[in-house]
């Protein structure tokens, strides 16, 4: 009976596998199927329509009045902007998160616990509420706007309803996802390596670049992924702080399902977003594998 442990393992795994299959596999398959169908006459899905790639074609080409297909760049631009916005946010999170994580790792045990608590406290409040809070801070009579405008040498600056506001809001929302994995790496970091780097002639900045950051790379990669992926699909922050002017992929998808009631096209957009995330993750995995070798 050599296969008994294997059998038992399968038995123990079954509930988890079933949950994943029912709650993730089935909806994904459903979404992919819907993306191939047509929208119904009164919105939703026309389940009887013949499956086609029409919704995907619509992303890039549209039918001109005379029936010829011309390239429509509006969705591609939104896609590109979403990637750019997510990349900028990831960069900002890294810029602010790295020093915080480094600093936290150097604190005493008790102080660290307090800092960890402070960093997770924002999660106790709904994301929507926190974004409204930023709305109040950034709007024209908000304190940050007034402070910036009183110091600005180039006249009044608009802080709200633009890409900057979205970047601020996203960075604020996702910063903990960057800090926590970085902190995990730095907490385990052998600080004697920093002494060794100094000893071998590397001043602070060089030691950071040649020793600390390369060793923290797994944390940086994990944090970047945790920020970049959800940023790509974010829709609350761009909708509120971007004022509907600066659309991201998440907003377009949400519009397709709600206002436009074009589920198949929304599903197609979702599949594209999913594919994009998958590409990023696979690229990251390959890159990390190469580094280990």
């Amino acid at each position: 009976m050599t296969d008994r442990p294997a059998l038992r393992r399968l038995g123990l795994l079954t509930p988890a596998l079933a949950t994943i299959a029912v709650l993730i596999g089935v909806p994904l398959a459903l979404m992919f199927w819907i993306s191939l169908l047509q929208k119904g006459d009164s919105g939703g899905v026309d389940w009887a329509s013949a499956p086609s790639l029409g919704n995907y074609i619509r992303l890039v080409w549209e039918e001109d009045f005379d029936g010829t297909m011309i390239v429509n760049t509006s969705y591609l631009i939104i896609l590109l902007r979403s990637v750019l916005q997510a990349a900028v946010t990831t960069g900002l999170c890294l810029l602010f998160g790295l020093p915080v994580a480094l600093w936290m790792a150097g604190l005493s045990r008790g102080q660290r616990e307090i800092m960890l608590l402070l960093i997770t406290i924002p999660f106790w409040t709904n994301l929507l509420v926190r974004n409204y809070a930023w709305l109040i801070i950034l709007r024209e009579d908000g304190w940050l706007s007034q402070l910036v405008n009183s110091l600005s040498p180039v006249g009044p600056v608009q802080l709200l309803y633009n890409d900057l506001a979205v970047a601020i809001g996203l960075t604020y929302s996702f910063l903990p996802f960057m800090i926590l994995p970085l902190y995990t790496v730095f907490e385990k970091f052998d600080w004697r390596l920093l002494e060794a780097a100094h000893d071998l002639g590397a001043p602070r900045r060089r030691a950071l670049r040649r020793v600390v950051i390369p060793i923290a790379m797994p944390g940086i990669a994990a944090g970047s992924l945790l920020v970049f992926i959800p940023c790509l699909g974010a829709f609350v922050t761009p909708a509120l702080l971007g004022g509907g002017k600066t659309l991201m992929l998440g907003n377009v998808i949400q519009m397709q399902f709600a206002a436009s009631r074009n589920w198949p096209f929304g599903a197609a957009l979702s599949v594209v977003l999913l594919a994009l995330m998958l590409v990023v993750m696979v690229a990251m995995a390959i890159w990390r594998n190469r580094r280990v070798k």
Binding site: D190, R192, L193, E195, A196, A197, H198, D199, L200, G201, A202, P203, R206, R210, V211, P214, I215, M217
Partner: protein, 352 residues
């Protein structure tokens, strides 16, 4: 400061912590380390030896005093501008770099041209016989191999002084013995001053040109291994290094010492009142019962191959170790009474 001294430490003090909680780790330490010298700081843990090493490396800053390397004051110089390199107790090899990248680290910081770095890395790895491991990562090496890489990495930039912080303590006994010999050869080959920190007295005696014995943040005695062993000036030094018998005595005028048992010895001294006499086990002699300076009973005899080690119970209750060469050993029955004679020239009168 003399011309030949590479490291010159003058009246250095260091405390950790602040206010009343401050702990004095180094107290007014002064020492000169000569060119191409193998100098060892020896002492129990907490004696301040590692702190002194870290002060020279630049990882800590002295509260008082002055540290100079090759005549240049480096007391306030950061570690990356000091002409010294360290072999860490934990090796502290960079896990993300290969062996050759580790060894070349300092050379890259010096902005040497790539071909020169390659040559110097090759030389350093050859010195520790690790050329064939150049492309490995530290995690793929054994403890002894990591040790060699750490040595090569610290030697590659050709420091004025190589600082070694208990580098052999993580190795097993056999490997440690091998590495001791290699270290000594390496020092001769590289022609660099070695400052070695250890708590292992045997290691210190084997390797060093000179040893500084430290206790409680002070240097008690500096001398060649022979001097430290044969002529300890402090009770602590005598006790810390090797086996030794300590006997209480009363110093009388006229170069006379009176032992507790009443026997007197004629030893030149300038002490007064109670003193401690020290004698190594191999320096005392067995005498007939009733003769000699001390009377004792044989408790146990250990056969050591080349010698016999007798454990004796003294008449006044103390224990005395006596080492007898196998050549002149006369068998002593357990429980038999013997006398112990203390040759005056082998006795040391110690400061408490």
């Amino acid at each position: 400061m003399t011309d030949s001294s590479v490291v010159s430490i003058t009246a250095v003090s260091k405390s950790f912590g602040r206010g009343t909680a401050a702990i004095r780790v180094l107290e007014d330490v002064s020492v000169e380390i000569g060119r191409r010298e193998f100098f060892t700081l020896l002492g129990p843990s907490g004696c301040g030896k590692t702190t002194l090493l870290r002060l020279i490396a630049g990882f800590e800053t002295a509260d008082q005093g002055r540290i100079a390397i090759e005549g240049q004051d480096v007391t306030q110089t950061p570690p990356y501008h000091r002409p010294v390199n360290t072999v860490f107790q934990s090796y502290a090899l960079f896990p993300h770099l290969t062996v050759e990248q580790n060894v070349g680290f300092a050379l890259e910081e010096q902005r040497l041209p790539a071909d020169k770095i390659r040559t110097r890395v090759g030389e350093a790895l050859e010195m520790v016989r690790m050329q064939s491991f150049a492309r490995r990562r530290p995690a793929e090496l054994s403890g002894g191999q990591q040790q060699r890489v750490a040595l090569a990495r610290a030697l590659a930039p050709r420091p004025k002084v190589l600082l070694l912080d208990e580098p052999l303590s993580a190795l097993d006994l056999k490997l440690r013995k091998e590495m001791q010999i290699e270290l000594k050869l390496l020092q001769a080959e590289a022609g660099i001053t070695f400052l070695f920190v250890t708590h292992d007295q045997e290691e210190a005696l084997t390797l060093s040109d000179r040893v500084a014995v430290m206790q409680g943040g002070r240097i008690l005695q500096i001398g060649a291994p022979h001097d430290i062993y044969e002529a300890p000036t402090h009770r602590f030094v005598a006790d810390f290094i090797g086996d030794i018998n300590l006997i209480e005595a009363e110093a009388l005028p006229g170069n006379t010492l009176q032992l507790a048992g009443g026997a007197t010895l004629s030893v030149p001294h300038d002490a007064r009142g109670k003193v401690t006499l020290a004698i190594r086990p191999e320096r005392a002699r067995i005498a007939a019962a009733g003769a000699g300076h001390l009377q004792a009973r044989v408790v146990h005899t250990a056969y050591l191959g080349t010698a016999l080690l007798h454990k004796l119970a003294l008449a006044d209750g103390g224990t005395f170790l006596l080492r007898q060469s196998n050549l002149d050993a006369s068998p002593l029955a357990m429980g038999s009474s013997v006398g112990v004679s203390l040759p005056a020239e082998n006795l040391r009168v110690l400061v408490q």
